[in-house]
Amino acid sequence: MKTRKALDPDKRSERVSWALVTPLTLVLGFFLLAPIATIVTVSFWGYNEWSFYPDFTFDNYLFHLTSAVTWATYLKTLKFVVLTWVFCAVIGFTVAYFLAFHVQSLPVQIALFLVCTIPFWTSNIIRMISWIPFLGRNGLANSALISLGVTDEPLEWLLYSDFAVVLAFVHLYALFMVVPIFNTMMRIDKSLVEAARDAGATGFQILMNVIIPLTKPGIMIGSIFVVTLVMGDVITVRHMSGGQSASVGRIISNEISLLQYPAAAASSVVLLVTVLLMIGIMMRFVNIRKEL
């Protein structure tokens, strides 16, 4: 028989929980929180050609925020974000809608869903490079267009242009829309759709008044992914625009390659704040914890 008073079970289970999350908290603490704190600190430091040193100056921010290049780049990046988002949302919704509501057998649904997700597990860089033989001057797209008689001369704007950048983004990130939207759609009670049909709604009305409102959380989660991935992009814009377009991520990586770490840190903080503001706005529409 126990004489010692047992530990309150609630307290005990809380301790178990804490022990279980300790490893991941340490990882995120050291490799996420500490790095962000370091970036914020270093963004106030000074630098010269060969090193950077502790200081407290707003010069890095002043330089970054008053540069016309910064504003032009943000505008351009925002344009990429909006275009990519629109295409990803339309494609993602349509694909998910087909999978969730028009494919009726579960094994087929799973198989087709996997077909959509497999590219996500392969290399982004390779997927990006693969557009080159397709879009180039003598590429497949141009030869097809010429043989169809759509154009006489090869189109120059297919590769190394804004078009190519958006195309690559949509290609890389459409999956991030398909998956969460499909996930929410699969949880929509099919009897709601039947009820709407019995009540005389047309297919289009069902789509607008039942399915889209219920799918909003999935659309929002997908949008958060797409927006942050495009905002933080480092290589796609550079590669697909042939170096002609700038992106915020590229400003940062240029400063890094010039070893201007405090400048890169200040640019990073501005990017982080921008991204968090955009997410903050989108999060108002969805409770992520409920969606899992």
Binding site: L28, F31, A34, F98, I118, G203, F225, I256, S268
Partner: protein, 279 residues
């Protein structure tokens, strides 16, 4: 079953186009990697050969591909194991509310949405200030975990949200200790999902670029090596490498998915046997 409407065929065509859009370019470079020795980066094919694949196996031709492949493979395995273990632990902890749980939840989400280049820069800066050398197995490893752990954890949260607690209660009623319950009841039930987490852990690490950019040090991982090649290699050898690593990814994905299918089947079998009282 309802008859298929006209919109079904429209949507099916859209879906087919989407799949073509997803896979078309990769298939294109797959074909072009068999370009003849005189062939260039685009069509037409100038003969068919294995020339560019042979080139890959000659060390001096381009960078240290095989070294970077070995590093990426090792790093992928490290990240995979840690992601699975930490995600399961975290997933179990989050089944109950505890003080600090929502702060930690938002930290996990933040890890997913903070631009990768910031993690790369921040980790690089810390190592620089502390006068430590960045290395793929230390700083690179940690930086990649900030990308794979959130995926693993979100999968585990979803798994445990759908987990039927009565199995655990039954185990407890039969006198199992908490550890025995986890070991013999919970883990076997969630095993197929753990393979999924492992798949995410390995592939996301194997293909990671931005978070490794400033944290890998002097020895490149494969994506960094490939990216270096894109700026200075102008022969189809690049496509040959692309085709090989994509095939490698497909093999990895295929084997993980096969394991999941086999586990599922084994579970179903055991389930039905138990139902017949055979045990």
């Amino acid at each position: 079953m309802e008859p298929r409407s006209r919109s079904f065929y429209g949507l099916a065509a859209f879906f087919a186009l989407f799949v073509l859009f997803l896979y078309g370019p990769v298939i294109t470079i797959g074909i072009l990697s068999f370009q003849g020795p005189q062939g260039g980066l685009t069509f037409p094919m100038n003969g068919v050969s294995l020339h560019w694949f042979r080139d890959l196996f000659e060390q001096q031709a381009v960078g240290d591909i095989w070294g970077s492949f070995r590093r990426s493979f090792a790093l992928g395995l490290m990240v995979m194991v840690v992601t699975v273990v930490f995600s399961v632990m975290g997933g179990m902890a989050f089944r109950r509310r505890f003080r600090g749980s929502s702060a930690l939840f938002y930290l996990i989400i933040a890890s997913l949405i903070i631009p990768s280049i910031l993690v790369s820069l921040g980790v690089g800066l810390i190592f620089n200030i502390l006068d430590l050398d960045v290395h793929w197995a230390t700083s690179g490893f940690g930086a990649q975990l900030t990308w794979t752990l959130p995926f693993g954890l979100l999968i585990m949260f979803a798994v445990f949200n759908r987990f039927d607690k009565s199995y655990e209660e039954a185990a407890r009623d039969l006198g199992a200790s908490p550890w025995q319950t986890v070991r013999h009841v919970v883990l076997p039930i969630i095993a197929p999902m753990l393979i999924g987490v492992a798949l995410f852990g390995f592939t996301l690490s194997y293909d990671e670029f931005a978070r490794t950019l400033l944290t890998a040090g002097s020895y490149n991982t494969l994506p960094l090596e490939i990216f270096g090649m894109t700026t200075n290699v102008t022969s189809p050898v690049l496509y040959a490498l692309g085709t090989l690593t994509t095939l490698f990814s497909f093999v990895i994905i295929g084997s993980f998915l096969t394991i999941v299918a086999l586990l599922r089947r084994a579970q179903a079998k055991r389930g039905s046997d138990a139902g017949q009282g055979l045990v």
